[in-house]
Amino acid sequence: MPSRRASVSKAGAIVLVGLGLSGCQQHNLLDAKGPVGAAEANILIIASVIMLVIIVPTMIATLVFAWWYRASNTKARYRPDWAFSGRIELVVWSVPLLTIIFLGGIAWIGAHRLDPGTPIESERKTLEVQVVSLDWKWLFIYPEQGVASVNELVMPAGTPVRFSLTSSSVWNSFFVPKLGSMIYTMRGMVTRMHLMADQEGELYGLSSHFSGDGFSDMNFPVRTVSEDGFGAWVRQAQGEGTRLDRASYAELAKQSTADAPRRYGSVEPTLFDGIVAQTVPPGPGPSAPGTVPGVRHKGGT
């Protein structure tokens, strides 16, 4: 993605923040940390500005007309029969229409260029990450590295990442606001998305599709690290030893909330495909009331 666009969007973001809203930069998605997010923020700002050009005068006109033509204003001319003007109608239909043609063009192009399935061009080799949403935590599998992590996403900055996403039970939506696009995770299906981080740092990721009682805890830190840092993290994970196979996955798939991040040193290679193909049993859903820590159940069953 061209960086000029990114800087335009940054300028826009700074303008918005400048409106007395400082101190919120850390999570502001207009200040994106990756090309996808930057392009989306850019579109968001451009479209807003274009619409504001129409909206603000309309609001002002509403106030001005209402005030000037108030019943008590004897200076205003009362035209009780004036109810049509071809010229005004022409303007009234064509201005929104032209604006929409323009915005529609942006939408059409954007829908294709920024479709989550569209790969990101880069000299670096794309990293594969498989994502499984569980009740209520995230599992990230790095098939090429043979490691996996729970509730913690580590990715090298400057390297495009291709996510393949599915769910162990109900739907969720994978979303890292500062990187851009979100996409649903659904059992038995794979959605795909490409993202890239520009710089190292720690970001915030979360589920943006309601998935039940433990939903509020479905967030995770995203650490974007250097390439070396990523290698180090993989080695560290490999050193931790525990293996993610069908048995340990079945344990993991049970409902729980606010699990601390943890890693698996090796992963059964066909696990993700098995989850998608549903040869691995689904997350079991709620068990008997009161057995899930932090989740109490109310009568009714």
Binding site: G117, M189, V190
Partner: protein, 130 residues
């Protein structure tokens, strides 16, 4: 506007007003034509599947065409949609109904086909780089 005007409009709209009765013979003829046409189309549809003289991929298309034709026959000869009173409204309502039915079925099939295609397991289907 006069009183008699108002009065006329009131009696004009008295509830229960009926149109002169249909002539029975003419009525039966209409239904008979409808029955004959509908039977013909039904037979054609069923024959289409039974007989194997038609190019297979064309069969569903033909069935759809016959179905649409038969629905038309029913509308005209059984529901009297073209001759009933206040026809414009009836036909307009029908047209909107058909529009929404087409939008709903067509839209759903189109959307769901795309979704299913994009969400298949395995490698990315037709990775579309632009």
């Amino acid at each position: 506007m006069t009183d008699t005007d108002l009065d006329r409009h009131q009696t004009d709209v008295a509830p229960g007003e009926e149109y002169p009765e249909e002539e029975i013979g003419k009525g039966i003829r209409g239904y008979l034509i409808g029955l004959a046409l509908a039977s013909l189309l039904t037979v054609c549809s069923f024959a289409m599947v039974r007989a194997n003289f038609v190019w297979a991929p064309a069969i569903p298309v033909a069935i759809i065409v016959f179905a649409i034709a038969q629905m038309g026959v029913h509308l005209v000869f059984f529901l009297h949609i073209t001759t009933g009173p206040d026809n414009v409204n009836n036909v307009m309502a029908l047209a909107f109904g058909v529009l929404f039915v087409v939008l709903l079925i067509g839209g759903s099939v189109w959307i769901m086909n795309n979704m299913n295609a994009n969400m298949m397991a395995g490698p990315m289907p037709g990775t579309h780089a632009h």
